[in-house]
């Protein structure tokens, strides 16, 4: 059995990279390093999907998480950098955190393990080159309504993003800087309020690059 001797090594390497980078993402001091470690975790997960012959899921993971979500995380770190606070531990004991982590993990794993659909799955993997086609067939024949619902969700998300990030629409058309913005921007930014885009987050002022 060549497979039995070969697969665990590849899987162990991927698992080690994923787990170590996940621990680093939680424990490192520098937020940027944490973000980069999280990206490495996403890459490890993508490699795991590829290892399981889930080609499409693996590449979707790379496209969405490694490509887009990583950029979102980096921008979030960039935007909130000035609001650095001295972190105080929420709970005094790490045992409490461990207990909560086990509870969350258990509540996720238990339904998965006890699910009857797990036993219905074929033991061997599907033909790998046919997978994307199969997903496409199912998406177009059986899951058309969920696809449309998904379009609605994505549209709602887009509208929500625009509404949240561009909240001060009337202010933006006002050429004179409002006192609120002047107070906020202070000496950091000399751009007029017309260009300053405030959000509900801590970045109340902006400086155009």
């Amino acid at each position: 059995m060549r497979m039995l001797s070969d697969i665990p090594i590849a899987f162990l390497m991927i698992a080690a990279v994923t787990l170590v980078s996940a621990v680093c993402a939680m424990s490192l001091r520098n937020l940027v390093h944490c973000g980069l470690c999280l990206v490495l975790t996403f890459v490890g997960l993508a490699a795991t999907y590829l290892h399981l012959s889930a080609e499409f899921v693996g590449f979707a993971q790379v496209l969405v998480y490694v490509g887009a979500v990583a950029i979102l995380i980096v921008f979030t770190i960039l935007l909130t950098r000035n609001a650095e606070v001295t972190l105080s531990p929420v709970s005094q004991s790490s045992l409490v955190g461990l207990g909560i982590a086990i509870a969350v993990c258990g509540s996720l794993v238990l339904p998965l393990v006890t699910s009857p659909s797990l036993r219905r799955l074929p033991a061997q993997s599907l033909a790998p080159d046919a997978q994307v086609q199969r997903i496409g067939e199912k998406l177009m024949a059986q899951y058309v309504i969920p696809l449309e619902a998904l379009a609605l969700v994505l549209t709602a998300a887009m509208i929500g993003a625009v509404v949240i990030a561009m909240r001060d629409d009337p202010e933006r058309n006002d050429p004179s800087p409002s006192p609120q913005n002047q107070k906020d921007t202070g000496s950091v930014s000399n751009s007029p309020a017309g260009t300053a885009l405030n959000s509900s987050s801590s970045t109340s002022s902006s400086q155009r690059p």
């Binding site: 497979m3 697969i7 590849a10 590829l50 290892h51 012959s53 499409f56 979707a60 496209l63 969405v64 490509g67 887009a68 979500v69 950029i71 979102l72 921008f75 979030t76 960039l78 935007l79 950098r81 000035n82 993997s125 994307v132 086609q133 997903i135 496409g136 067939e137 998406l139 177009m140 024949a141 058309v144 696809l147 449309e148 998904l150 379009a151 609605l152 994505l154 549209t155 709602a156 998300a157 887009m158 509208i159 993003a161 625009v162 990030a165 561009m166 629409d169 933006r172 950091v188 930014s189 300053a196 885009l197 405030n198 959000s199 987050s201 970045t203 002022s205 902006s206 400086q207 690059p209």
Partner: protein, 127 residues
């Protein structure tokens, strides 16, 4: 399954070459450069000119965040179009209505969101 993963061996080699190039360049500059000759003046961002003042991390426009959010959304849309595009030709004869109509309505619903963002000048960087 093993051959499935081993077909990505070129990708792994490519990654190793790029990482090796980055690390090698940095290591070479440390080895070949004059590491010991550092002064306070040499370490400031501009060796000649104004002495920098104020915090180094300037505040950034929240527009960056909006662009990243919209990028994530469009990325997910593309992920769902990809399996459709792969099977488009084969399924066209069998289920014409759902293949064409399903994707058209999918994109039509998303187009509403796109129009909203366009109307709100979310893509307009200067406003």
């Amino acid at each position: 399954m093993q051959s499935q993963l081993s077909q990505y061996l070129p990708v792994l080699m490519f990654l190793m070459v790029t990482i090796g190039f980055a690390v090698g360049t940095l290591a070479f500059s440390v080895i070949a450069g004059k590491v010991g000759r550092r002064t306070r003046t040499k370490d400031i961002p501009y060796e000649c000119g104004m002495v920098p003042e104020g915090p180094g991390n300037a505040r950034l426009s929240v527009k960056f965040f909006l662009v990243a959010l919209l990028f994530v959304l469009f990325d997910i849309e593309v992920v769902f179009m990809y399996p459709w595009a792969v099977t488009y030709k084969e399924l066209l004869a069998k289920h014409f209505a759902s293949v064409v109509g399903g994707m058209l309505s999918f994109m039509g619903i998303l187009f509403v969101g796109y129009l909203y963002a366009l109307k709100k000048k979310a893509f307009d960087w200067k406003s």
